[in-house]
Symmetry: C2
Subunit: 114 residues, 2 copies
Amino acid sequence: MKGHLDATFAALADPTRRAILTRLASGEASVAELARPFAMSQPAISKHLKVLERAGLIRRGREAQRRPRRLEPRPLAEATGWLENYRKYWEGTYQRLDALLEELKTTDRKKERR
Amino acid sequence: MKGHLDATFAALADPTRRAILTRLASGEASVAELARPFAMSQPAISKHLKVLERAGLIRRGREAQRRPRRLEPRPLAEATGWLENYRKYWEGTYQRLDALLEELKTTDRKKERR
């Protein structure tokens, strides 16, 4: 489990990899489809996909031609589980953070609406 | 905010640093106090503390002699906020699995009745 968390958090420490996961949360996609929105070559995207795959965050689908990638939710659930332990800490000690999180959520929702 | 998440997740990708945060969640501690439970030299611990400090996950207290470190909950809250977006996804996945299992059970029961 510790090794899992190491690989998960390391994989999440990159904005492109986080963006790939965000894309895959809305449905599986081929490497070409994943590369399109980024100003990046397919080999550069493939490197990021390898990191995500080794961390168990994504999996290859069976469809032979496209080999679509799909999100594997378990490591994300485990990482959230680890961070959840600190929710009590910041909720107990810093109630103002609750307000901050609410604020962030509201800002996100406003952005979505635009 | 993206840069924050990079540094936060990179800092969390190490079991010693996660253990230090766990320790600090129960109260501030000096470097010597933090080094004690680990089979590590104080300089080795100091290196980890520097990573955590640069990521904004911990802060030095004002007490001149001990310079106790304390947890800064904001980056942890932000990282949790990012992962929270995927909660819907995996809860959805598991719910779909639940529904599928229910469906299979119902089908089995119908078969039994025949």
